[in-house]
């Protein structure tokens, strides 16, 4: 909900974008599940089926910039000093969140 399931015209959809909601046909049947990653093939096929709008959340519409992510994380953790041994638990949480957001380490 915070990202909003706004509809994006098919022409503006790019490979790599992710469906924020299931794509349904006129009968309410699921064509593509929520979370489907769009590929060129899928987009071409949707065009052939007359699909005009796709549910793509605002968040996934713009590919995330790692520098921006890091900047935001540094802001969130602005009270934590990286080499503060007293505050090591916050430091570990910070590292895990960075790994999570920047796609490092084990991906769930």
């Amino acid at each position: 909900m915070s990202h909003g399931n706004k509809l994006t015209p098919l022409a503006a959809a790019q490979p790599g974008m992710v469906l924020s909601d299931a794509l349904l046909d006129g009968q309410g049947q699921v064509l593509l599940a929520q979370g489907t990653v769009l590929t060129e093939g899928v987009l071409a096929s949707l065009g052939r089926h007359g699909v005009e709008m796709l549910p793509i959340g605002a968040a996934s519409a713009a590919p995330a910039d790692p520098e921006q992510i890091q900047k935001r994380l540094d802001h969130l953790f602005r009270h934590n000093e990286r080499d503060d041994d007293e505050d090591w638990a916050t430091g570990i949480l910070r590292r895990y969140i960075e790994d999570y957001r920047l796609g490092r380490g084990a991906t769930p």
Partner: protein, 280 residues
């Protein structure tokens, strides 16, 4: 500047909107198992908005039911009494405070943070084999004192928020400086007023100080869930700040990085689903 004393606080609590009587009953009985479920289901059926949202939550993918429940009685049959009770409390509490009295206080962001903390507390509790329903409710209500302060002292709370932004300090310190009380004390006062169980009261009282003697494990779970919820940045608050994590709690949880990364992901998924229903 005059500080709030306990009498002011008590007077403020009396001015708060009251929860439906049946919800008060549920809050007071959170530790009890022997409740007449059919009486409860009947009482609740008079409150259609509450029932409808509770059933939407019960039917969400969070609980993985194979059948669609259409009555509170059915929800209790399939999910159990404890879980259903916690869903009802969540729906009632999120809908009970008026919004918009204090321009600087973003009540949407408040609830997003509370729901994110509830989701994360539930995820952590499952990993720790701790009661997930307690963790969920304690996570949802951990900052409830903020709503009391903002509802009863909107102008002063505005000042506290301005001071927090100016000094970029912890909210607790800004509240104490301006109001003389903080949201933890106020939350505990509300917990008493609303007859929360001791476990729940303790978790609210100690979520910023989980190392306090007798704080209990639930306070530790809520403490960690609160920090993770801030760190996951789900509240959409420009000024979001991750509080210091207690080393004792982190050690007690003892989870691997892989567990945490999974927990982050699960928290985000559950958050999306819960907030869509609770904030509708």
């Amino acid at each position: 500047m005059s500080e709030l004393n306990s009498e002011d606080l008590a007077a403020g609590l009396n001015d708060l909107p009251s929860l439906p009587a049946v919800v008060m009953e549920l809050l007071g009985s959170i530790d009890q198992q022997d409740i007449d479920v059919s009486v409860l289901a009947k009482k609740l059926s008079h409150d259609q908005a509450l029932t409808a949202k509770t059933l939407r939550l019960a039917n969400s993918s969070l609980y993985g039911l194979q059948v669609k429940v259409t009555t509170i009685q059915q929800a209790i049959t399939f999910l159990g009494f404890q879980t259903t009770r916690n869903l009802i409390i969540a729906v009632a509490v999120t809908g009970c405070f008026p919004s918009g009295r204090c321009p600087a206080f973003d009540d949407k962001a408040f609830w997003r943070h509370s729901i994110a903390t509830a989701a994360c507390a539930r995820v952590l509790a499952r990993r720790m084999r701790f009661n997930q329903d307690y963790a969920f409710t304690a996570g949802l209500l951990h900052d409830i004192g903020r709503l009391v302060l903002v509802s009863t002292q909107p102008e002063r709370y505005q000042e506290a928020l301005a001071l927090r932004a100016e000094r970029d300090c912890e909210l607790l310190d800004a509240e104490r400086a301006v109001l003389g009380v903080d949201h933890v004390e106020t939350g505990v006062a509300l917990a008493e007023h609303w007859n929360f169980s001791d476990t729940m009261r303790q978790a609210i009282a100690c979520h910023h100080a989980p190392e306090t003697q007798g704080a209990g494990f639930l306070a530790g779970i809520v403490h960690a869930a609160n920090a993770i919820a801030h760190a996951l940045d789900l509240a959409c608050d420009e000024d979001e700040l991750v509080p210091a994590v207690s080393a004792a709690v982190w050690t007690a949880l003892g989870l691997s990085e892989e567990s945490y990364l999974h927990a982050f992901h699960e928290t985000e998924l559950q958050f999306e689903e819960m907030s869509a229903i609770l904030m509708a």
